[in-house]
Symmetry: C2
Subunit: 163 residues, 2 copies
C-alpha cells in the first residue's frame, strides 16, 4: 500500500532551495510477513526474519523485519516522497539504529528534517545536507532513526525552474 | 555466485569467545546489472540504479548499485560467513559509508574486525560488540565501510559446546 501525500512545495530541490529546520513527510508503506521473509531470504537469512515459529524463541519474540529491510523501505519512501534533491538522493554516509523491530502489518512512514547544510569549499557546485529521518509505524512507534549525509547540487546557471 | 571459504574456528561465538582484534573474511558474492535494477526497482528507483543510459549523465557516470543494496549484500555475507554470533547477528546501530559505488560485475567480499567488546552492566547475559567491516570488490576497491554495534549473548549455563 502506498498512499501519496500532497504538498504545495516544489518536489525537486537544489542546495539553495533547502533550509535548516524544513520537514518532509513521506507516503506510507505496508510491510507484510511474506515481504519480510522474502527480503530475509535474499539478504538476511536468520530464523527471526524467516519463520514465525522459530522467531518466537529468539531475542525478537516473533517475526521481525531485517533492519536492512526497514532501511530499504525508508529509502523507497524518501525517493518517492514529496521532496527529492536535484540529481537524486545520493548518500555519502549514514548512521542508523532500530529502537524497535519492524513487524508484519506495520504501515511505515518517514518524517525527515534538514538539520545541517554545508556548502562544499572545494566543489562550488554542491554541498552536503544532513537529513534526519524517523521511520514510524501506524501507532507512532519508532522503527528506525537515521542521520544521512546527502550530496546535493546547486542550481546550474541554465536551470531557471525548480520543478 | 557464492564461494564458501573454510575456517578451522567454530562458527558460533558467544560473547566470551570473541576477542578485540579478531578478523573474519566472508565468502564472495557476484552482483550483476539485473540484480542492481531489481533491488532498485523495489527500494531505490532512481535513474542511476535503474538504467545504463540514464545513469551515464548522472553523478555516478554509469549504472551503480544502491548503497542499501551493497549494505544488504554485506549483511548476507556476514550472516552466511565463517563466524556468527550466538543468537544471531542483531544490530543495535550502524554507521555506513560508500567511498565508491558498487558496479555490475563486482564480486564483493567482507572483511570484519572486532574493535570493541563491552559487557552490559544492566543485563549480565549479554554485551555489545563493535564490528568494523570493509566490503571490497575483486580489485580491492572499498565499496562500503561499516561500523556496527551488535548485541551478543553470553554462553548460557546449560550450553557446553560452542558449535
Amino acid at each position: 500500500m502506498t498512499t501519496q501525500t500532497h504538498h504545495a512545495q516544489a518536489r525537486v530541490r537544489y542546495l539553495e532551495d533547502l533550509q535548516v529546520g524544513e520537514r518532509f513527510k513521506s507516503a506510507s508503506y505496508l510491510i507484510e510477513a511474506a515481504d519480510i521473509k522474502d527480503f530475509a531470504g535474499h539478504f538476511d537469512p536468520q530464523p527471526f526474519h524467516m519463520d514465525e515459529d522459530a522467531a518466537r524463541a529468539t531475542f525478537f519474540g516473533g517475526l521481525a523485519a531485517s533492519g536492512w529491510h526497514t532501511a530499504a523501505i525508508t529509502m523507497r519512501l524518501l525517493v518517492t516522497g514529496p521532496v527529492v534533491m536535484a540529481g537524486g538522493i545520493v548518500g555519502a554516509g549514514v548512521e542508523a539504529s532500530w529502537p524497535t523491530p519492524t513487524r508484519p502489518g506495520d504501515v511505515l512512514q518517514v518524517e525527515s528534517e534538514v538539520v545541517e547544510i554545508t556548502p562544499s569549499r572545494s566543489r562550488p557546485d554542491r554541498g552536503i545536507v544532513v537529513l534526519q529521518s524517523h521511520t514510524r509505524n501506524q501507532q507512532g512507534e519508532v522503527r528506525q532513526l537515521m542521520r544521512a549525509k546527502l550530496v546535493v547540487f546547486r542550481r546550474p546557471a541554465d536551470a531557471d525552474t525548480i520543478d
